[in-house]
Symmetry: C2
């Protein structure tokens, strides 16, 4: 039998581990955290990762923690922001203190990798679920989904489908590089910083390219066409509607094309007038539904 | 069959409903919210409310939302802060759009009652659970749990046990004033503002007086004695170890006694040297365990 106190003790050493930039006025362990945001605008996102929906049932506790935090941080990258601190709402039905210790190791690794601080949280009993609250500051301007303009080019920062392959490999007990990527996804902060001066809109590929690009289109009140042959994919067309890659999809006016090409980003299409998202493949025009794959499978 | 989009649509009208103080630079609906904290320190807390643990199975959706937000906000009051904005991580397995509409009504009522903004959130499928992230700003100084000093008096801002009675009444289908209080608890912001200039430590009664006062003692490295006859209770000694009242327990140096008395606060004991929490009842001295009731039942 373990108590809430036992669980909280496993997290204790993470609290206010390092605070070189002096953001934490009052850290975790009190009723609330007090944070000095240094007169900068704060960027905040909340992301729930649930067992069986966002990660498999037998996913190791360390990876549960790391992955939940990393994919929440990806939303900051998509907004053109760098990370600073997090809080975590953990629901777990594990009665093994080792599980919480391993979970804590995953948090600690993420704190180290992303140079962030854990400033608070809550723990409750129930089916495994992590509510990761992430906080950061803008590199430049906010990269909103609503900023795409007719004539803008559409870019991807990397390949799609490796996350999908990673989940498959995990389920087949294959410890591939894709499996490692699924366990420890990488929020694209460096790329976010680079594009933050030029991009007109941005989103991270968490729900699949089609759904996520549709979101840019509907929020920008535009349409788009994308070219299948120009999209960097791991395996097949299903890679367009699978999430878990956390690369960034962004738009920018044509004048910046050479900069992005030089830096290895992939131009995959163009923003158009209207409200349709179309895929060009072998000279066929396929009209896509915003809910993604289901409509054109 | 309802989709995530249907659910998100029920919340849409709440987004950036009013932003008279200009805090929201980018509101909900994007990858992240961007917030202008006006050069003030930010106070943040996260609180999970789970079905069957924090509210009963048949609790109405509107009350689930309102109560989850209100008790999260209570942590801001306990920290000496007023509320400004919130984000919500909702896990629900309801397939009825009416349920989400009712849940939204509860959020809206809380936004109106507490004059706060909803700036983001996430929705996922699973057993009902609400991760309420609350944000505010200090009235004065942070009221930490660690500030109690030997010789300080211990105060309560109100009666204990009405929340407990309310839950009982709800379960017995009695629509009493206690039941209403359980459904819509009141974070003690006005009292928090008043005491924020004088209190040396503060906590809200969410886990029961004994556990919560023990937390002040252990974090302040002191002991305490409290007098049963001076504690305002609804029914019996069990009211000391039941949470759900969300009154504030705070300490302050003796010089402020008359101010608190005049304002109707209850002086229930004194901070002592050592690490023991004792209850004096009918001249008997009962040593309490920090885990509360179980040790002296």
């Amino acid at each position: 039998m373990i108590s809430e106190k036992n669980i909280l003790n496993t997290f204790k050493h993470l609290i206010n581990k390092s605070d070189v930039d002096g953001i934490v006025v009052v850290g975790s362990g009190d009723d609330a955290a007090v944070l000095d945001t240094k007169e900068k605008n704060l960027v905040h996102s909340v992301d729930i990762s649930k067992i069986d929906t966002h990660f498999p049932k037998n996913f190791p506790a360390e990876d549960v923690a790391y992955r939940s935090i990393a994919i929440a941080l990806s939303d900051l990258a998509a907004m053109g922001a760098f990370p600073s601190f997090i809080t975590i709402g953990l629901t777990s039905n594990s009665k093994s203190i080792k599980w919480y210790e391993d979970f804590t190791k995953g948090i600690e690794k993420s704190l180290d990798d992303f140079q962030i601080k854990l400033v608070g949280g809550d723990v409750t009993y129930g089916e495994l679920s992590i509510c990761a609250n992430v906080f950061g500051f803008l590199y430049n301007k906010p990269l909103q989904r609503s900023g795409a303009r007719i004539g803008d080019k559409i870019y991807l920062t990397g390949k799609l489908g490796e996350g999908r392959q990673g989940l498959k490999d995990f389920n087949n007990n294959i410890n591939s590089k894709y499996c490692k990527k699924f366990k420890k996804p990488e929020p694209q902060f460096i790329k976010s910083k680079f594009i933050s001066s030029y991009a007109s809109s941005c989103i991270d590929i968490s729900d699949g390219l089609i759904k996520d690009l549709s979101s840019i289109c509907s929020m920008s009140d535009v349409g788009a066409k994308i070219f299948y042959e120009d999209i960097p994919i791991h395996k097949d067309i299903e890679d367009l509607s699978h999430g878990d890659d956390f690369e960034l999809c962004f738009t920018a006016s044509k004048e910046h094309s050479s900069k992005f090409k030089k830096n290895g980003y992939f131009c995959i299409g163009e923003i158009l007038d209207g409200d349709k998202l179309t895929l060009i493949r072998d000279n066929n025009v396929i009209e896509l539904d915003s809910d993604g794959w289901d409509s054109f499978k």
